[in-house]
Amino acid sequence: MPTQVADHEVRDSVPVFLTILIGEGQMGFSTVFLDQEKQAARREVRRLPLGDGAEARGKVLVVSTTVVDIRGEHDRTSVTVQLSDGIEQELRQSEDAHESGVVNYLTVIRFV
């Protein structure tokens, strides 16, 4: 299922960063919301600052990623959402792209 939910425990004074890795040599586009505020909408999201733990606590992170199958060798796609604040949390999903050639992934993380 291309939807994943999780909780992430934050620490007050430690900044939280978000990285979205699109694997299998494919490419894709992501949009990131923290609560209802858009944080990013682009192809590469690397170490996107989401504020420190105290700011992030109680908020919900929504990551929507659409992967486009551009590889001739296979039709696998995968998305890994990484949260880094001294403690790494990694959420990985994978699906095969079929006729449409695009796969949409949704990751929702509550900061607790």
Partner: protein
């Protein structure tokens, strides 16, 4: 000969005067000219070493599908054999497993890792007959080949941005709708089934609402991207090797496995082609070796060393080629060379008109001068032309 040269020049000049019925375009790196592409390492060395162009090539993407493909080929035979007839398979083992940590950018960065990421193994069988002192011998040949590309960091294809123009507007509203739904019902943030329903529903709606021209752009650009990724530019070095082995022989009306393969290892090939590929100027170096021992009393070998450079502008190209060949058959040894210049006009995407002048390898009949105009088809891949065999 002078008349022939004059005619060729006349044909070449008349080609230059052809009306422009194709739009001027930058010559891409994979369809430079047919003569240039011909020097490239064969795409499937196993097929090349057997001199075959299989019409159906199996390309299994997992060990399981490879096994099924092989068993299927065996099942097609009337008599059981471990070596199926007319079997052609090509695999890229790197992609048999999942690589969730491999980003597009990392793949495009190339380097030494590109060699094993692009490594392909090819395998083919064909039935051959050779004449010997005891009459004709039939035997099954098995070709095995390996090929890899070493390339430098690749430029980002323009198609990525164009895909983004279509895809990013699909991704944004979905994230916004989910964020809004969670704001209205915070319990949804932990309900993976409810979120999946919302995601699926929203994404399907967005795809349906996508204007038809945008859908077309997405399909076209995806295809274009796949091609652009495969068509590398800058420094690219292809290395390939292949071996042909004989396994079976005919006895009467049946083909049987013989205890000792009659052909053994009977053909070997090696190719290395360092190249620099760009829109205007491209150059390719060639080292290729072929050894063949199908007929026991006449071992043949040939090795080529040289290169070709091409300058292209729009639909016109000019190139120069120099190749040295040492070849042998039995106790004979010969040194030959080919020096040629060519002028090409791209008539359509895949068709070139070429005027070639110079000296060819074969000089059995006179000077070996070349002066010809020809229509050549180029499909972006090396033509399935047999390797340089002595006396060919």
């Amino acid at each position: 000969m002078r008349t022939l040269v004059t005619r060729a020049v006349a044909v070449g000049l008349s080609l230059l005067a052809l009306p422009t019925f194709v739009s001027a375009q930058v010559v891409d790196t994979t369809a430079i000219t047919p003569d240039f592409n011909r020097l490239k390492t064969p795409e499937s060395p196993a097929f090349h070493i057997l001199g075959i162009s299989p019409s159906a090539i199996s390309r299994p993407t997992s060990p399981r599908s490879f096994a099924f493909s092989f068993l299927d080929a065996l099942r097609g035979r009337e008599q059981f054999s471990l070596i199926p007839s007319n079997f052609a398979v090509e695999v890229n083992p790197y992609w048999w497993s999942s690589h969730p940590d491999l980003s597009f950018e990392e793949y495009q960065a190339g380097g030494i890792r590109s060699l094993y990421r692009t490594l392909t193994l090819s395998l083919a069988t064909t039935d051959s007959t050779v004449s010997g002192p005891d009459g004709d011998r039939s035997f099954r040949r098995l070709g095995v080949g390996v090929r890899g590309n070493l390339f430098g960091r690749q430029q980002e294809p323009a198609c990525l941005e164009e895909i983004g123009v279509v895809v990013q507007p699909l991704t944004d509203p979905l994230a916004r709708e989910v964020a809004t739904a969670i704001a209205q019902d915070p319990a949804l943030a932990t309900d993976s089934t409810g979120l999946e329903d919302l995601r699926k529903r929203t994404f399907e709606r967005l795809l349906i609402e996508l204007p038809s021209d945008q859908k077309r752009v997405l399909d076209q650009k995806r295809e274009q991207c796949t091609d652009e990724i495969a068509d590398r530019s800058g420094f690219v070095m292809s290395v390939a090797a292949a071996a042909g082995l004989g396994f079976l022989e005919s006895r009467g009306d049946t083909t049987v496995i013989v205890p000792t393969p009659t052909g053994d290892l009977n053909t070997l090939g090696f190719w290395a082609t360092p190249s620099y590929l760009s829109g205007r100027f491209s150059g390719i170096g060639v080292v290729r070796v072929l050894w063949e021992d199908i007929e026991a009393d006449t071992t043949e070998f040939a090795w080529d060393f040289g290169g070709r450079a091409v300058y292209s502008s729009g639909r016109y190209a000019a190139s120069a080629e120099a190749l040295y060949r040492r070849r042998g058959r039995g106790d004979e040894r010969m040194n030959e060379y080919r020096l040629a210049t060519a002028f090409d006009i791209r008539v359509t995407q895949d068709v070139w008109l070429t005027a070639t002048f110079g000296k060819d390898f074969e000089d059995d009949e006179g000077s070996g001068l070349i002066a010809l105009a020809s229509l050549q088809w180029n499909f972006g891949k090396p033509a399935p032309r047999p390797p340089p065999l002595p006396g060919a």
